[in-house]
Amino acid sequence: MASLAPTFGRGAMTNHWVDIKNANLIVVMGGNAAEAHPCGFKWVTEAKAHNKARLIVVDPRFTRSAAVADYYAPIRSGSDIAFLGGMINYLITHDKIQHEYVKNYSDATFLVNGDYDFGDGLFSGYDKDKRSYDKSSWSYQKGADGYVLVDNTLQHPRCVFNLMKQHYSRYTPEMVSRITGTPEEQFLHICEMVAETAAPNRTTTFLYALGWTQHSIGSQNIRTMAMVQILLGNMGMAGGGVNALRGHSNIQGLTDLGLLSNMLPGYMTLAGDKEQDFTAYLASRTLKPLRPGQMSYWQNYPKFHVSLMKSWYGDAATKDNNWCFDWLPKLDKIYDVLQVFELMHQGKMNGYFAQGFNPLASFPNKAKIGGALAKLKYLVVIDPLATETSEFWKNFGEFNDVDPNKIQTEVFRLPSTCFAEEDGSLVSSSRVLQWHYKGADAPGEARGDAEIMAGLFLRLQGMYKKDGGTFPDPILNLTWPYIIPHSPSSEELAKEFNGKAVTDLTDPKDPTKVLVKMGEQLAGFAQLRDDGSTSSGCWIFSGAWTQAGNLMARRDNADPSGLGNTPNWAFAWPANRRIIYNRASCDAAGKPWDPTRTVISWSSRQNKWVGMDVPDMRLDAAPDENVGPFIMNPEGVARLFAVDKMAEGPFPEHYEPFETPIGTNPLHPNVISNPAARVFKSDMEAFGTARDFPYVGTTYRLTEHFHFWTKHARINAILQPQQFVEIGEDLAKSKGIKGGDWVKVMSNRGYIKAVAVVTKRLKTLTVNGQPVYTVGIPIHWGFKGLTKNGFLANTLTPYVGDANTQTPEFKSFLVNIEKA
């Protein structure tokens, strides 16, 4: 979600599943919602049936989503920025933008640093050796008062709007068609349909998923679309927004809780090596407003951070020891999975834990992953199922051709419970925390993940207590207030991340008045303090378990507004808001752009914001105060110009996949692929070229399966029993392949064999004057489970990641195919 935060301030789906029904136009691009999220896609069909909405699907394949679309256009995998950049150009040149919205709620009027430049595929400040940018020129011009300079007339040549206009003027319909392979008239038809929703009372919503993220330019794919949504004035609107359809059931929750190399809960970040000074650490994250009067909510960072440290280290965290700041590890670089497996492959790691995760199947270049695991001293797999990773050392013939005797890794496999056997909450893509209950005991000796973690922790802690060892302080002092120490309950943990008053909280205006008594649950993150008097393990989840009880377990599905908001169903972060940035659903004067879809509005009678949703705005911020709707951004508005938030440039630019079928970039042949993408030297050598591997390979999911789990479930194994690849009729004909034949698909990293599905749904595209064929590779098979044994599809995929998220490029690489 490292693309939405740089634009809007928060990295999450802005609206929610049911809200999709309010849209006028739905664009499914960079995803296949019908296939991957059928029950969420229901709200697309509802919008069509009850709101006369139109559905557009743009995808390299005619997908299950396309099967029910009003309009489908093909696109070459990995060329979405060209398509969407062309759309930005269309909207600007045809004057199909929501002017009031853009002027008031985006940085279009902001003036950009005079040194910022773009030419021949590179932005200013590029360092070729480091493959990264010095981003100092990617900034705004500031006045003497410290605020950014703006030009409300949009005439200034250095204002964001004009720079953007200039940047995308190169993305003409001809150029778009040349790069994407989408026929020009189809591209223009889609632009026309999208442009209609620039009207204040019309909305488009975009549904996307891994089809955009799994590219070396994944984050920028999404940002381009986010920019389109700003120009159309669709953010904050019911039926609008940017709907990032997350994959796993709690991937949103684990991201919110910061289970990532460089993160802390609630989107706080770990310090780097150089951030030795706690005050400076806080100051750099306590963002001051860039325009007068803006909320810039990260101004509260110290409150969130200190409360977190009180949660973790309790009494040991004091003002004097900077709330245990030194106990947190410092980053010299990001240890994302590609980096970690690179180190592991180099033999620089000894141990690894895979908790409910199947890295052998999930990360690119299976051969490298397997080789890396074989260099570990110990591997611990915690899972309800027998995964491929847990048996990476075992020989499964062609599917996993290894010699167990040569693999010296000690592998532990710990059985965990599944959903049905535990209580707890999951965060849906809509940011809703939903509580669930245990229905039966786990089989055999399986234990819950929390119990397993507690068991491991206590055993290690015991060893440090007994024998001492290196830097035991954080281990010995970690708060452990759980009634049954070896088995913390979900209730206790949920209360802990919500937060409580460590001491009596008194009203700052009247110290005699106690707002929250010591030990009581907090009502929300607004009560957090930076003086150690509150604790909260994840500030954005604060409000989930208050004195009133477990709000995540609420089951009132009443929908008073008819817009599907159900405010009393479970609990949505932040602060139970269902549509974030909803202040932007009103004009500058606080009146809804579309009164028939009023989310909130300014009530001059009550002098506050009122509506069906929790206003994403200070309640008493009158419209004439000009408080921007994007409260997390210090600008108060959404960023068309991402300043220094993105690795490869403030405006998205089309770069080719690292394995490109056309071998050039029509926009700038000197800079073909993402100059800042995460790629290691040894992996660079493993890239193939179009000469040997002429076809575009793309991996994806099928609706019958969920990753590598459901092949263990009999019903799903029946529904899609055997590995296959999809090819178009032209390619099949030229290779003499018929449906049902066995084929071999090869990349520079390995091969798989599968049954061929020959289809009309994969059309040959003309890209840069040459035909481009796509080979579709569903991922769900492996050598464990009930489905017929198959190859892990990541045998083929390249080891290269997005520059911001390090998400691997699973969607676009080069392969060859032959009859097996």
């Binding site: 229901k42 994959g247 059931s249 790691m349 954080p474 263990h712």
Partner: protein, 195 residues
Amino acid sequence: MQVTRRQFFKLCGAGLGSSSLAMLGFSATEALAEIRSFKLERATETRNTCPYCSVGCGILMYSLGDKAKNAKSTIIHIEGDPDHPVNRGTLCPKGAGLLDFVHSASRLQYPEVREAGTDEWKRISWDEAFTRIATHMKNDRDQNFIAKNADGLTVNRWLSTGFLAASASSNESGYLTHKIVRSWGMLAFDNQARV
């Protein structure tokens, strides 16, 4: 054999008699049309959330037994929760097949270890598993923990062991995992959000 008129009558009579007998005596029991009995009648209903994708569909799990002390629950059926505002009772092919995940033959039952260089799993106790894993960890951490970097700055990190967290586990498990993993000083820490 010659059949006279009288004999003929007898023969016919016997034929009729035997067939009527069959109709009366040997006739198959004419069971009434009966539909399959409704299998959830007294099953216990538990509310849960589908563990697959992030639509977060509400599900109803039905288990055998009424949670009385001597009854052992087993999930016998799972279907969509009609009260849930997002899925409104519907489920996708994965959710509708959840029962077969719960009861998958691949479910792990007890801790196991595969010793270095061998070709088989060996069952071990939880206690042995925790001790052996914690010993590995402590050895690695004690040896490779970096308290200060080359420039002498305090960094307190442990890089030689990594952790991948499960993004299908609950917030509570996830939160505890994060709390524990950071207390160890780990940075090689990730979840499915990246892929």
